[in-house]
């Protein structure tokens, strides 16, 4: 029994290491600078740990701008997908209406397509509309990626809030919008926030559409793909670490909601 427990626990530990060690290693590559990247064999501990590489990476022209663009795009994507998705989720959760099934199907259909690729033809119309190479343009296509998710998750969130709570508010003197604001919003807020952060992560990581739809106002991911591939390895590793750190933080922020979100988004 204790042997089995030991095997079990070492399995868990191995899987944790499997996740964490690669991150540790790229962090080593990122802070070690050119000397560490060129060295052989490599040390698994930061010998001359300096954040100079990371610092000089941030000092490189364009990186900071791209980071800001990424933030801007991700925040816009977050806003678009929640503003558009939450009402639709509410409709799915609270009303039974003709076309609800068709709508759900459309939402599911978008999941079956690699939406990023749809950015290809958008280049032309975006140039015409003046959206090409703007953060809004990229945020729009990212919102299209995040929207189905936002709709389904918010629908399940609203479903999880008993209809009776809203009805009680109506009975006790609230109009529909007021009941929504006083009762539904406060209860759904943590989940909606988690959904928003997830939309943020989707946008932060998306590279294909962002690369295709921008030239100068690259998001960090697209910038790294296009420009850093012409750079030495240690700079690339610094870029990789830069991409990973926010993800780790975001997942930490939404960890409580991750599972309830996906749990119901299943159906």
């Amino acid at each position: 029994m204790t042997l089995r427990r030991g095997i079990f626990l070492s399995g868990v530990a191995t899987l944790c290491a499997w996740t964490l060690v690669p991150i540790w290693l790229i962090a080593l590559g990122a802070v070690g600078g050119r000397a560490a990247v060129d060295s052989w064999p490599k040390s698994f501990w930061p010998g001359s740990a300096s954040f100079a590489t990371l610092g000089s990476f941030l000092a490189i022209d364009g990186v900071w701008t791209a980071t800001l663009t990424s933030l801007e795009v991700a925040v816009l994507c977050m806003i678009f997908s929640i503003l558009l998705g939450a009402p639709a989720g509410y409709a799915l959760a609270r009303y039974s209406f003709r076309g609800a099934t068709a709508y759900r199907l459309l939402i599911l259909l978008t999941r079956a397509f690699p939406v990023g690729i749809l950015a290809l033809p958008l280049t032309v119309s975006f140039i015409r509309l003046g959206l090409y190479d703007t953060p809004v343009g990229v945020a729009l296509i990212h919102a299209a990626l995040a929207l189905p998710f936002a709709v389904l998750v918010s629908a399940s969130l609203f479903q999880g809030i008993p209809r009776e709570l809203e009805e009680a508010a109506w009975v006790f003197g609230c109009s529909r919008p007021r009941a929504f604001l006083r009762v539904v919003v406060p209860l759904a807020l943590p989940g909606i926030a988690a959904t928003a952060i997830f939309a943020f992560v989707i946008s932060w990581n998306e590279v294909f559409a962002a690369s295709v739809l921008t030239v100068r106002h690259r998001t960090l991911t697209a910038y790294l793909l296009a420009v850093l591939s012409e750079s030495p390895l240690h700079v690339q590793f610094a870029g990789g670490l830069m991409l990973i750190v926010p993800s780790v933080v975001f997942i930490f922020l939404v960890r409580k909601h991750l599972f309830s979100m996906w749990g119901i988004a299943n159906r």
Binding site: L15, A88, I117, A143, W204, V207
Partner: protein, 281 residues
């Protein structure tokens, strides 16, 4: 009257949005793929199919999807079952295991490049252990199997988390009583898993597989980071045609192929893994 209109008003913005940013580009992609100049034509597809990388890209894409997706499913099922038995620190383990969820495929590619390049950490570890005397190459055109293995590793590392999260969420919806009932009636742990847990988890597995397969068809930054041009896949070719060759028609043809494959995979999963309505809890 107002009451019946309300839901439509609520879904209208998202519907409009999806129409403009999903349906229109979808139609445009298909149109772009089938046009040459002003006429309808299969020229782009002929060009795509005649390209030297096309068959490789198709094969590589399928190889990656067919290896990665089942492995991920197995790994994620194993991890989600392990989670059930962790007594202390379950939340911490869960968080660690779901970190890759937020990591982009480009970043994952760079992570594994740091490990697998000639002077990388894998070779260093092997050297420290005395297993090799000089760096070994894994990512060259001469070592396609190792390169494929590297991509599979990186994908396993990055994208198993999403399967895990979907499955764990699904497991939470399966009441423990079912498994308890099965064990009372004498089922072994394996039998419980095989006969009770797995069937009840079917909707979650379906979701996870659809999600993962579609995303696996879409993957390209990881391949680009690790293999450069050594291992073309469908989307990296679409990217090349769009970006380096500036031929939107051929890029669109690739996009159509990827979409058809994704759609086909989704339909297969929906059909094969459907839960008969009479079995719904």
């Amino acid at each position: 009257m107002r009451k019946t209109l309300a839901p439509y008003l609520l879904i209208a913005p998202s519907l409009l949005f999806l129409a403009v940013l999903f349906l229109v580009p979808l139609v445009q992609t298909i149109r772009l793929a089938f046009r040459a100049g002003q006429a309808w034509s299969l020229g782009n597809f002929a060009r795509m199919a005649n390209d030297l990388n096309f068959s490789d890209a198709v094969l590589n894409t399928f190889r990656i999807v067919l290896i990665v997706v089942p492995l991920q499913l197995l790994l994620a099922i194993g991890m989600s079952l392990m989670l059930r038995h962790i007594r202390r620190g379950r939340d911490l383990v869960l968080w660690i295991w779901s970190i890759p969820l937020g990591i982009s495929d480009l970043a994952a590619g760079l992570v594994w490049l740091a490990i697998l390049n000639d002077r990388g950490y894998l070779n260093s570890a092997l050297f420290d252990l005395g297993l090799i005397s000089a760096p070994h190459s894994y990512l060259t055109y001469e070592t396609p199997a190792a390169l494929l293995g590297a991509i599979v590793l990186a994908e396993l590392w990055r994208a198993t988390a999403i399967v895990l999260v979907v499955l764990v969420a699904g497991l939470q919806l399966v009441p423990k009583e079912y498994a308890e009932a099965a064990s009372v009636f004498g089922a072994s742990p394996w039998q419980i898993f095989r006969r009770v847990t797995l069937p009840l988890l079917r909707p979650s597995i379906q979701t996870a597989l659809i999600l993962r397969t579609v995303l696996a068809f879409e993957m390209f930054a990881i391949v680009l980071a690790l293999g450069g041009r050594n291992m073309p896949v469908l989307v990296s070719e679409a990217y090349n045609w769009q970006y380096a060759n500036q031929d939107y028609g051929v890029a669109a043809a690739y996009a159509v192929v990827v979409m058809l494959l994704s759609l086909a995979a989704t339909l297969v999963y929906l059909r094969v893994l459907r839960t008969p309505p009479e079995q719904l809890a």
